[in-house]
């Protein structure tokens, strides 16, 4: 038998044990899933999201919409940030140089003080 055992400072583990655990978990999940029923007819209203009887809109509410208040409050800041990100490399280099100048100035002024 292939002996794959790794000794660490906190004990011993084997990849085979992990694979065995994964196989057991997959089997348990499969058994639980197989107890379900296949009552839904594919391609009919039965598989369409329930929207209180109305037609489900194509544009749904996404989890990201939960941050609406956050984005609304930070709108000015984001607008400013988005404007800076032009996608032009020269602009990024300029801002990088500007940042270096500011950092250097802070260091120099701080060093002289």
């Amino acid at each position: 038998m292939i002996d794959i055992m790794f000794r660490t400072v906190s004990g011993v583990w084997s990849p085979l044990a992990l694979l065995a655990a994964a196989a057991i978990i997959i089997i348990v999940v499969y058994l639980i899933r197989s107890t379900g029923t296949k009552k839904y007819k594919k391609g009919t209203e039965q598989t369409v999201p329930f929207f209180s009887g109305g037609v489900a809109p194509e544009k749904n509410i996404h989890p990201g919409n939960l941050y609406w208040g956050f984005f609304e409050a930070m709108k000015k800041y984001y607008r400013w940030m988005v404007r800076l990100h032009t996608g032009i490399v020269n602009d990024y280099i300029y801002s990088f140089v500007l940042l270096i100048v500011i950092v250097a100035a802070v260091i120099l002024i701080g060093g002289m003080a």
């Binding site: 009552k39 007819k41 009919t44 209203e45 039965q46 369409v48 329930f50 009887g53 109305g54 037609v55």
Partner: protein, 142 residues
């Protein structure tokens, strides 16, 4: 009549198609501690996707026609439709109103009618038991 083989709870989805809320209140009354149908596993669910029974109240107004049809289509098979109250069964006091397209059986097939204005919770529970039996028969045929 006896219920033998349906070895699971019966979940119902309630659709109000223009009811005055009288029948709806009686449905809720069946869930209160006095009647407590939940002890038999009968409970209201929030989506037709989980329901075995559709409890339909109201005479079906024009706006509710498509919604009722869609909710019916979205309920998985086998399903049973219960019409609770006079309005859903015949139109009741709103019979031949210009704004109605009901009664319910003009829009979706109805399996159990529970007459009354509103029907008492005992009548609704009796209807649910009949629906349960129909569902059991439907599942046995599968």
């Amino acid at each position: 009549m006896s219920i033998k083989d349906l070895n699971r709870s019966l979940w119902a989805f309630h659709v109000n198609t223009g009811s005055c809320n009288g029948c709806d209140i009686e449905i809720v009354a069946a869930l209160t501690p006095r009647y407590d149908v939940e002890r038999f596993g009968i409970k209201l669910v929030g989506t037709p996707r989980h329901a075995d029974v559709l409890l339909v109240t109201g005479p079906v107004t024009r706006d509710m026609k498509d919604k009722l049809k869609r909710v019916y289509d979205q309920t998985p098979d086998p399903k049973v439709v219960m019409c609770v109250g006079n309005c859903g069964s015949t139109g009741g006091v709103f019979y031949e109103s210009y704004n109605l397209v009901g009664p319910v059986d003009r829009i979706v097939p109805v399996d159990v009618y529970v007459p009354g204005c509103p029907p008492r919770p005992e009548a609704i529970i009796d209807g649910v038991v009949k629906a349960w039996k129909k569902l059991e028969d439907a599942e046995a045929k599968k």
